[in-house]
């Protein structure tokens, strides 16, 4: 029977998604601001 550590798996996937989406948004916002100047 494998150990029950599903919470760690979910945490890691959420952290990775938050960092990737956050970085993509920061790029989009900075590019939009640079285009407007």
């Amino acid at each position: 029977m494998p150990p029950d550590n599903r919470g760690f798996m979910v945490a890691a996937y959420v952290v990775a998604a938050v960092i990737l989406v956050g970085y993509a948004l920061s790029l989009a916002i900075r590019i939009r601001a640079a285009r407007r100047r």
């Binding site: 890691a12 952290v15 590019i31 640079a34």
Partner: protein
């Protein structure tokens, strides 16, 4: 076509690639979490591997590209190469952040500790801090030539660390697992898990390309703005 126009076009293409990569990432998440079997010894935490390894791959690719572009900049002294190197460095730091957060989340249930000061983990943290320093340095230096020269030197030094980090698991006694795909012999992973890992590696590489193009476009847009201001004054 002006510098501003070509930068805006590059940014749009990069954004398109990034959107495509995010769709791929969603598919990889579903495949990894739902359709890839749970490993018998490590349990569900083993699946962290499908985001941790590709993030590490993209981070080390980004830092290697920064190093190669830094060498090219020191040789050719072209400002656009410096902007591309800086773009790759920033994207590399983003991927390294994923690597350095998902790693300890895997380590806690498997090793029983969030962190250990072994050669692989310590050298990876050192590389991350080096590139955070690289970005801080670029932020505080005003003279573009001094900024480009100094950051190129750090970029080259960082790249030298990449093969060292890969080899740490062979050179030192370390808790970190040895490579199971990037090694001289065949990958030691069941087929279904290998397909998930390779798909994730492809998606993270595409994310790197999309991010890199957008960040380079941002650098060019800022450069165009500086040129316009210099011409106006």
């Amino acid at each position: 076509m002006t510098l501003r126009d070509s930068a805006a076009r590059l940014g749009r293409i990069g954004a398109g690639i990034t959107v495509l990569a995010f769709l791929g990432l969603a598919a990889v998440y579903v495949r990894a979490l739902v359709y890839t079997p749970v490993e018998a010894n490590q349990g569900a935490a083993q699946k962290i591997f499908y985001v941790h390894v590709p993030a590490a791959w993209s981070a080390l690719i980004a830092i290697s590209v920064t190093g190669l572009l830094s060498i090219l900049y020191l040789w050719l002294k072209d400002r656009r190469i410096d902007l591309a190197a800086a773009a790759s460095a920033e994207v590399g730091v983003a991927f390294a952040t994923i690597m350095l957060t998902t790693g300890p989340i895997w380590g806690k249930p498997i090793w029983g500790t969030w962190w250990t000061w072994d050669a692989r983990l310590t050298s990876t943290l050192f590389l991350f801090l080096l590139f955070v320093g690289y970005l801080v340095l670029r932020g505080v230096l005003v003279d573009p030539t001094v900024r480009a020269n100094l950051s190129a030197v750090i970029g080259v030094l960082g790249m030298i660390l990449v093969p060292f980090i890969h080899l740490t698991v062979y050179m030192f006694r370390t808790l970190h697992p040895a490579p199971i795909v990037l090694k001289p012999s065949a990958p030691s992973l069941p087929g279904v898990m290998l397909v998930t890992l390779m798909s994730s590696l492809g998606v993270f590489t595409l994310l790197y390309i999309g991010f890199m193009m957008q960040r380079y476009a941002l650098g060019l847009l800022r450069e165009a703005r500086e040129e316009e201001m210099a011409n106006a004054s």
